[in-house]
């Protein structure tokens, strides 16, 4: 159970809450005592007794797959917190199962419901800045600031660590903006945690360009989590965070309505409607509202469905896999003897260039094999 999910969904005018399940009996007892909510300690028991149309799953990541499956098999629509699962193959299987059972699925990547990040997507769809050649996806925050922690978040096998918990957000935006990468490399770094990563860097390769990811959740200078996206195209640059989008457009860009060449700034506050209920940001309410609307109208396709979340899981898994591999070492320097200045060559033009290339080739060969000739 996520307390904030519960608080938001309970107030939705089209939703009747029929049951709450949590492993912590204490919290359930307090809720039952003070709010009269029907509470359950057993998830499957709740599904079978309360018979909900839809369920919100906000548990540690390693528990998602089994719970999601139980729900789908009963034809219950599922909203699941991010990341969807740890093993992407499982995500693919659940995506297919949901399709077969005509179950509506959604994953809690709330940034896709932030107006500034939505505007980035709209501008990219319009081709405003041309093909994106490079991008930078960042997330920083003050989560782990000392060697401590005994919750599921401090265990990698449970889905803990900054890769699953933090990097998932900017990676999800990258997959939204740029699609499926064709190559992924990455490195995980522990700063304070004993068993998990507190920072992630990664490179993603796309047919037309590259993207960099930089994430650190041990950054005390941040008041709270901050996610930032910067994209450079041939016709301009876009920067966005939760609050605003700053767009620089060159004269060569096709200028969308309301924009102009040079700098353009739009604020999330200006682009956002007040929701039915506000708890921690409009986007959290908006994503639940979208899910409720999809369930009511029976629309299987929608933002953040399992197929889309599985792509993010695949990128996460690729970074994790690559981080376990040996990185190629630094190119070796020439040995002492090879550092002597080469004899002065008094040739010019093409013959000089050829001589130089030969000289370098020999040095490289020596460095690699210790021999002058193959």
């Amino acid at each position: 159970m996520g307390l904030s999910h519960l608080s938001m969904i309970r107030t939705h005018p089209e939703v009747r809450m029929v049951g709450v399940c949590d492993a912590t009996g204490y919290v359930l007892d307090v809720l039952a005592k003070y709010t009269g909510m029907p509470v359950f300690k057993d998830f499957v028991g709740m599904l079978d007794q309360a018979k909900p149309d839809a369920v919100i799953i906000a548990t540690p990541t390693h528990l998602h797959a089994a719970m999601v499956r139980q729900a789908i098999e009963r034809g219950i629509h599922v909203f699941c917190e991010k990341p969807l699962v740890i093993d992407p193959a499982e995500g693919a299987a659940l995506t297919q199962l949901a399709r077969e059972r005509q179950v509506i699925t959604q994953v809690g990547y709330h940034n896709r419901f932030v107006a500034s990040f939505q505007e980035v997507h709209r501008l990219l769809e319009l081709g405003t800045i041309g093909p994106v050649k490079t991008a930078l996806a960042e997330a920083y925050g003050p989560v782990v600031l000392k060697p401590a922690g005994r919750t599921w978040r401090s265990q990698r096998a449970s889905g803990g660590g900054s890769l699953y918990d933090y990097a998932a957000h900017p990676l999800n935006l990258l997959t939204w903006y740029l699609g499926e990468p064709i190559g992924v490399t990455g490195r995980l770094t522990s700063i304070f945690s004993a068993q998990i990563d507190d920072a992630v860097v990664a490179s993603l390769r796309y047919p037309q360009g590259t993207a960099q990811l930089c994430v650190n959740w041990s950054d005390e200078s941040q008041r709270k989590m901050s996610t930032k996206m910067t994209l450079w195209g041939t016709h301009g640059r876009i920067y966005a965070d939760r609050q605003e989008i700053q767009v620089y457009l060159r004269d060569t860009a096709t200028i969308p309505e309301g924009y102009r060449p040079g700098w353009n700034v739009r604020y999330t506050t200006d682009m956002t409607e007040a929701p039915w209920f506000y708890l921690r940001g409009e986007e959290y309410s908006a994503q639940l509202a979208a899910f409720v609307t999809r369930v009511a109208s029976g629309s299987l396709d929608g933002e953040n469905d399992f197929a889309s979340a599985t792509l993010t899981d695949r990128v996460i898994a690729a970074i994790s896999d690559d981080s376990a591999r040996e990185a190629p070492p630094l190119t070796p320097l020439p040995t002492e003897g090879e550092l002597r200045p080469p004899p002065v060559v008094r040739r010019r033009g093409v013959s000089a260039a050829i001589a130089l290339v030969r000289q370098r080739a020999r040095a490289t060969l020596r460095a690699a094999t210790g021999k002058d000739r193959p």
């Binding site: 107030t11 204490y26 919290v27 809720l31 005592k33 709010t35 919750t151 605003e244 007040a274 409009e282």
Partner: protein
């Protein structure tokens, strides 16, 4: 709907978002404010200006740095003879971080006083075991308010993150527990900050909190006014409560004159809370409020 209770609040309350890097529009601006106000001296300088210009109520979170402000004010009772604090509690970020570290129950235990009077121990442990939230909640309130000891705190607020979480959960008893404790132990008026004004008024009525003081976003643009601007207007016309408007400039999206002219003509408005970092902005806000909302009206 107006009430005949005597006014306990000034028309203008000085907020503290600007001191802690809270800015709803720009992360860059938030960071430059954090840099500017990292020395408590810079905060005091602005508070002094506000105080000297007649804005003598400081509506502030229970952020640990406010404890430094409290110390300085306590140290100069003459200088700050008319200074009032309206504490807003809890400072939610420290609880959120503690929950990440220690889990839900661990976090609550962490903030309960670990030493002290027998009273605290009794209220804490036995009520914790009985799942009686009243004992634990009142202990947490006391822990939050410790830094204001000896200062004037005629109004004590429950922060919106907590008020709205409880509202969503349907935990209406918590509002009564808070109100009773604040009245009995501190002789203060309980007050509530919310992003969901019409819904919170319903819950407070159910909880039996009469004529409550409620602070919400109230601005011409309808920015963060959940349920819509019309529902807010209707609430102000018809419901028995004392309204405090925040975000009247909608994070800078409305020009000050236009924003204040609109908000000052609303019925049942008791106060406006605003943040500013310069004398010019403090003075112009004060003067505009005096112009559109003459004293005695």
């Amino acid at each position: 709907m107006t009430t005949d209770q005597p006014r306990v609040m000034d028309r203008l309350l000085f907020g503290d978002n600007q001191f802690f890097g809270v800015n709803h529009m720009s992360e860059e601006k938030a960071r430059s404010q954090q840099m500017r106000f990292q020395d408590i001296g810079a905060v005091m300088k602005v508070l002094d200006i506000a105080y000297d210009e007649g804005v003598t109520t400081f509506m502030c979170t229970t952020h640990e740095r406010i404890a430094e402000v409290c110390d300085l004010v306590r140290a100069s009772p003459q200088r700050y003879a008319g200074m009032k604090f309206f504490p807003c509690m809890p400072y939610a970020h420290k609880y959120a971080n503690a929950i990440t570290d220690d889990g839900f129950l661990g976090a609550i235990r962490k903030f309960l006083p670990d030493e002290g009077l027998l009273d605290s121990v009794m209220r804490g442990t036995s009520s914790f075991a009985r799942k009686d939230i009243e004992g634990v909640a009142t202990l947490l309130i006391d822990a939050e308010l410790k830094m204001f000891a000896g200062l004037s705190t005629p109004v004590i607020w429950m922060q919106n993150v907590v008020a709205d979480l409880l509202l969503g959960l349907g935990f209406t008893d918590a509002f009564r527990i808070f109100a009773d404790h604040v009245r009995l132990r501190y002789g203060a008026e309980p007050a509530f900050i919310t992003m969901n004004l019409p819904q919170l008024l319903d819950a407070l009525e159910v909880a039996g909190v009469e004529n409550p003081i409620v602070c919400a976003n109230i601005n011409k643009l309808g920015f963060r006014m959940s349920g819509g601007i019309e529902a807010y207007r209707e609430a102000m016309d018809t419901r028995p409560f004392r309204a405090v408007a925040m975000s009247v400039f909608a994070s800078g999206a409305i020009a000050p004159r236009e924003a204040l002219e609109w908000v000052c003509q609303l019925p049942n408005l008791e106060s406006i809370v605003f943040g500013a970092s310069s004398r010019a902005n403090i003075v112009s806000t004060r003067d505009l409020v005096n112009e559109f909302w003459p004293a005695g009206s």
